[in-house]
């Protein structure tokens, strides 16, 4: 029957001719192929010594950002938790007391901010939802742990370390 796609190939099973039964030409051809691979460039990346560069828009561990004065940007509005499709983010809000103006930028801040890294799918929606530019997924890979509870990252792991903005600008200009 005529095949509709015209791509049908009928396999012919002829007995091998003398040349083919000698094996040797076919073996020589095979040897040629393997020796070509012997000298080919090897695509393996020798991992611990060599690392593949990350993509620029790689999404890794979250970090809670500080503003130029070193104050936490997060105002505990809860939009990130709301936007999270995996429901990985929880927080408890608190009101800023007098004397804490150097620590928190807004009058309301997150006293507890937890992300369950087992639930997180690193989609980046929290980053998009944040009105204060307080959360970014710009960290490294989230590492493995032995216990499930260790995957719940609190503020101790999430808030970026304090920095001196003047020194950073100076370093950059140098």
């Amino acid at each position: 029957m005529q095949s509709l796609s015209n791509r049908k190939k009928v396999l012919e099973q002829k007995p091998m001719n003398f040349w083919e039964r000698m094996y040797l030409p076919a073996i020589a051809k095979g040897l040629g192929i393997t020796i070509r691979h012997f000298f080919k460039k090897i695509p393996t990346v020798k991992y611990p010594e060599e690392k593949r560069p990350y993509s620029k828009n790689f999404r890794g561990q979250h970090s809670l950002k500080r503003d130029e004065a070193g104050r936490e940007r997060c105002t505990a509005c809860g939009l990130c938790a709301l936007s999270c499709p995996a429901e990985a983010i929880t927080m408890i809000a608190a009101e800023r007391k007098k004397g804490e103006e150097a620590l928190y930028r807004e009058e309301k801040y997150a006293a507890v901010y937890e992300i369950n890294m087992l639930r997180c799918i690193f989609c980046g929606l929290c980053e998009e939802a944040c009105p204060k530019e307080a959360i970014y997924l710009d960290g490294p890979h989230v590492t493995a742990e032995y216990l499930r509870k260790d995957f719940i990252y609190g503020k101790d792991k999430l808030v970026e370390p304090a920095f001196d903005i003047k020194k950073l600008i100076q370093d950059k200009s140098n």
Binding site: I27, T34, I35, H37, I42, P43, T44, K46
Partner: protein, 346 residues
């Protein structure tokens, strides 16, 4: 037999033994490296520089593994199997001439352990013994896969020994001698190599050597896909290691044999035109011999990572219906050519 002679031979034996063990050890690494490169990856490269300590790690691991002798196995034969395999593998290198004579303070030292006048027959005898190690091990294991592997090994080895012997007869018709040292000495220079007069014989010999070493594409005795592990299914620890080791030593010895019988052994091109002292020629000859041997070992591995395994009936067809008739034709052809040459071109 004076003492110095015995000492000299003893030192040579120790050197040959050590060298063949070391080469067998590093063949395992070479095999994995070559496999890697042919499959577009690096093989083992963690232990030592470029993986050079890998064989030591493997050996150490073998020694520390638990040794299991199955309850139903025949204990003494089970132990005898790998012992026999490794002993026969080691003793076959005794008649291979590694080089010409070294002149040390007037003493002529021949670089050959035993220059017996039936060297080729000795090798055949020892190689034929080699299959007993596999057979005994497979049979004593009390395991059907082992037994099947052993049976395959036995029948394969018998079938291919015939082809091998017949291909050697044609060579002996040319060389007129069974002594290994004379066969190699006849091939001095480059044009006298036996490969030029016996190309077909060499091809048959090489194919049979592959089969005798149980190498791919003739590794049906172990054949993981069908027989679990073949004759060494029940073996563990260093006993398994010895089987592996004997396979690699066999490969080394057959490479040496092919190099000596067909590729001029320690002879290398322009050896008489260099104007060097005999000692230097001898040393260079040993180097040339080992280069040839390594070339053949590489070829063994190259074939392994190129060809798939034969089916058992294909193996038997190739052995009995192709190699043996070809070898006989080769003998007849060699005979005719020799007579024509002697009658008309003498």
């Amino acid at each position: 037999m004076e003492g110095a002679f015995i000492l000299e031979k003893l030192i040579l034996v120790v050197i040959v033994f050590t060298v063949s063990l070391v080469i067998a050890m590093y063949s395992t690494l070479a095999e994995r490296k070559i496999a890697g490169f042919m499959q577009d990856r690096y093989g083992p490269n963690r232990a030592g520089f470029g993986g050079l300590l890998q064989p030591l790690c493997d050996g150490g691991k073998f020694f520390f593994k638990e040794e299991i002798i199955p309850a139903g196995a025949h204990r003494s034969l089970f132990i005898l199997g790998p012992t026999l395999a490794i002993i026969t593998a080691c003793i076959s290198s005794a008649v291979i001439p590694w080089g010409q004579t070294l002149d040390i303070n007037g003493r002529q030292i021949t670089l050959q352990v035993a220059d017996i006048n039936v060297g080729v027959l000795y090798i055949f005898g020892v190689v034929a013994l080699g299959v007993y190690g596999i057979m005994l091990g497979g049979w004593a294991s009390n395991n059907k896969f082992s037994l099947l592997g052993a049976i395959r090994a036995a029948s394969q080895s018998i079938s291919y020994e015939i082809g091998m012997g017949l291909s050697i007869i044609a060579l002996l018709m040319v060389t007129q001698t069974l002594s290994m040292s004379e066969i190699v000495a006849q091939q001095s220079g480059f044009v006298n190599w036996n490969i030029w007069v016996q190309p077909l014989g060499f091809l048959i010999f090489m194919t049979c050597a592959f089969a005798e070493c149980n190498r791919v594409p003739f590794d049906l005795p172990e054949c993981e896909t069908e027989l679990v592990g073949g004759y060494h299914t029940e073996y563990s620890s260093m006993k398994l290691g010895l089987y592996m080791f004997s396979e690699y030593i066999n490969m080394f010895v057959s490479s040496a044999l092919m190099a000596a019988l067909y590729f001029g052994g320690y002879n290398f091109p322009f050896m008489h035109d260099l104007g060097l002292s005999p000692n230097w020629i001898t040393i260079l000859g040993v180097v040339a011999f080992f280069i040839k041997i390594f070339g053949f070992i590489f070829f063994f591995m190259w074939i392994r990572w190129t060809l798939p395994r034969f089916r058992y009936d294909q193996l038997m067809n190739l052995g009995w219906k192709m190699l043996i008739p070809l070898a006989i034709a080769n003998i007849v052809l060699t005979g005719i050519i020799t007579i024509v040459k002697d009658t008309y071109f003498a």
